[in-house]
Amino acid sequence: MASAFSPKALAGQALLSRAPLGLATLVLAVPLAAAALSAVFAGGGEAWQHIVSTDLLRFSLTTAVVLVLTALLVIAAAIPAAWLVTMHAFPGRGLFEWLLILPLAAPGYVVAFAYSDLMGVAGPLQSAVREATGLGARDYWFPDINSPAGLAFILAGTLYPYVYLSARAAFTTTSVCAIEAARTLGTPPLRTIWRVALPAARPAIAAGLALALMEAAADFGAADYLGVRTLTVGLFRAWSSFGDAGAAARMAMLLLVLAAALQWIERGQRGRAGSEATSKRWRQIERTPLPAGPGALAALFCFGLVVWGFGAPLLRLGWIALETGHRGAGLWGPLATSLTLAALGTAVCVMLGLSVALGVRRGGALAQLARSVLAGGYAVPGAVLALGAIVAAATFQINLVGPFAVLLLVWVYACRFTTAGAEPIGAALARAPASMGDAARALSQSPAQRIWRVELPVARSGAWVAALILFVEILKELPATLMLRPANWDTLAVRAYDYASDERLAAAALPCLMIVAAGLAPVLVLSWQLARSRPGQP
């Protein structure tokens, strides 16, 4: 016992956890720092003055509106869905349990292409309305997809699985005993949800929501395609209309503040309700069957969610691809590139995510710094990080061809996405009581043994989730890949975006469908793995 707490052992432990963490922080902070430096030193030019005096307030308000609407829609969709499939039995429940994850495989820009076509004035929905009613195009009201609300509708449709997954995991892993205890005490069901289940799940829900909102704030593809002027789009405009990277970097700093605020709110939630599962009694949840009416409503609700973020947009793109008979020649190369980059990026991000999550668990200023850097990276549009990485590489006179460009791209993926990997791993670790680590220490396990024998196995389910989320995220990534990929390294996302922004939706449809198909397999494995990884099950 004495040896485990000896100064030498503690120093060893500190080194083991801090060294990779410090390195990771340093590596990940470089592009952000480069962007920040150019914001400070090159950002105050005429273009910036122009943006401040004309559009900055509107960009910021638009972003705020989009984020608030997205958050509301995501919560309204994901939490009831997670509760229903975890706690109740209704027709199709088993199917919906995993169908609800599918929108994860559909990037926001793909869904935006489809909805913009579906809901446009010349699209099938409005044409049908006109045909059915005999009205002219200007005689009726139709929701405008090219609006902040339309963008929120699209982003929420693709992002609700983040909260659905985290809420479901929390509902499942919260000891059912706590809920049953509430029931035994005669608490009505809604009150049980409100007073027992939701407070226990709140940290997980907040973490999922924070991820979803950072993703929404960093979205470029969908907002740009719909013409909604968010800060991220404004940033690109500063860049492409005024050619002023410094002004763009200043707007990036605003997004950074936004990310820090989200992170801060999320941490506040965690601090207030950080409940560690202390009950060791796990058992199969007994799902309460819903009566026919509510059961059908529950099924309809879940079905609607799947159609919203997945079914409708993909069927539309499938139809376009079939109608125009676009062949997929020349798309195998981009497919291979997409898969290779996603695999590489995932491997790097999971390793970084593990070291950060383990470091955060041990606490300390460095760990918090690492976490903030990562969260910042997640909220910064990929293109800004890519720019930062390019500036950094140029400073060290690294030539950006061939493997270096790929390494740089993987580096940017790591800056951007490691937080998406660190969060599930951290959550998995957080579910294990801290006393487990103390017990290991008491049993004279060396720090390395503690990591290897106690924490890594606990982190494993989280690492799986992390790997799959990362793979799909990187597969969908657009702006950084656009900027950094070497010649002849087009990914499917790049092709889809190029075609769509060139107003050739027919050509874009097939690569879009391929991105989703390639992302589906990991999402399905994720779903299966989650069903299995519930504590108390073999």
């Binding site: 013409g227 790929v406 190029d498 027919a506």
Partner: protein
């Protein structure tokens, strides 16, 4: 263990990748090409803002004629520009191809292009369609036109862009966002022909006549006219011709309800170009010039515009399928001016409330 498997496979992928990267790099160094010219083809690195499947055939044809292999990096122009800025002197780019003279001006303005003197290019391409300093060369023409509802609009009433500012079109105009380079170049042209004050007034009146807030691309505006959401739309000509030649019946129906006017921008129609330039730090300058010259031949021109439905710049080259003959008037305003007016145009649009 699956996690370990994915790591191993990723690492081997990286190894494979470095191998191809190295091969490509060595091919680029001049002394290697000199000693192993027979085995290793010369490489031309092309930064292109075009994304057409047919471009592969174009590159193959160039390789068949010259033995120079084209390695293309396709991206949006703004991203190519930022990438080249960051790459600086180490940039592998030999040639840049992008749509719109305004875009090429940005590359020139950033010092990313160089002056080229070529008999072949100068004689094949009209002077107004080239940069005054020889930094870029127009390779294909695109007209910004007015698409109109055949049932409700007389083509005479929209003979000029200036007509769109009239009260007759109150609530009847569809156009895309002002940040789009095509609109910036159009206003840049109007600044040249009408003067800054009139151009800004025009932008204000036209945005006052909008049927709806700008959203979507040019194709969406044309479709909106066909659906009856507005009577006229500003668009580039080839979007209409692509709809006309589409596999989709609903696309073709759009072009049955609409038609085009090559509207006058003050000194003739608003013509713009897809243009090419030699990169300032081109490692392979000779091949770069040869590539531009190839694109100005009849073969190059035909292949360049077949899929895009742009107009060839070189006289006598047959038009792509389905295109109507272009207006006779040759452009007067040098396209170089459009880029120079670009920032002013964006600010005018912002002040005029054209989102």
């Amino acid at each position: 263990m699956p996690a370990r498997f994915s790591l191993v496979s990723s690492l081997s992928a990286l190894a494979a990748l470095s191998a191809c990267g190295n091969a490509a790099d060595t091919a680029q160094t001049p002394d290697t090409t000199a000693t192993e010219a027979a085995a290793e083809p010369q490489i031309l690195t092309l930064y292109s803002a075009r994304h057409y499947d047919g471009d592969e055939a174009l590159y193959d044809r160039f390789e068949a004629e010259t033995g120079i292999r084209v390695r293309a990096r396709e991206s949006r122009a703004a991203q190519l520009l930022e990438t080249m800025k960051a790459e600086g002197a180490a940039s592998p780019a030999d040639v840049v191809i992008a749509a719109d003279a305004g875009t090429l001006w940005r590359f020139k303005d950033a010092g990313l292009t160089q002056s080229v003197e070529s008999e072949k290019l100068d004689s094949a391409i009209p002077a107004a369609l080239r940069d005054v300093d020889g930094h870029w060369f127009g390779l294909a023409k695109r007209y910004r036109v007015i698409a109109y509802d055949k049932e409700n609009v007389a083509p005479d009433s929209i003979a000029a862009f200036a007509d769109l500012s009239g009260e007759a079109f109150d609530g009847e105009i569809c156009a895309r966002s002002s940040s789009n380079i095509y609109n910036l170049s159009l206003l840049g042209h109007l600044i040249e022909t009408q003067g800054a004050e009139a151009a800004e007034a025009w932008a204000g009146s036209v945005s006052g006549n909008f049927a709806r807030d700008p959203a979507g691309g040019d194709t969406d505006q044309i479709k909106a006219v066909a659906a009856g959401a507005c009577q006229v739309a500003i668009a580039n000509h080839y979007y209409w011709f692509r709809l006309a030649g589409s596999e989709s019946e609903s696309d073709r129906q759009v072009t049955e309800k609409t038609a085009l006017v090559f509207a006058n921008a003050g000194d003739g129609p608003h013509v713009n170009v897809t243009a090419g330039a030699v990169a300032a730090n081109a490692p392979n300058r000779e091949a770069a010039v040869a590539f531009l010259e190839f694109l100005a031949t009849e073969t190059g021109q035909t292949m360049l515009v077949a899929e895009t439905r742009e107009y060839p710049v070189v006289a006598g080259v047959p038009l792509p399928d389905g295109l109507i003959p272009p207006p006779d008037a040759e452009p007067v305003t040098p396209l170089s001016r459009l880029g120079e007016n670009q920032v002013a145009a964006q600010r005018m649009f912002d002040r005029a409330g054209w989102p």
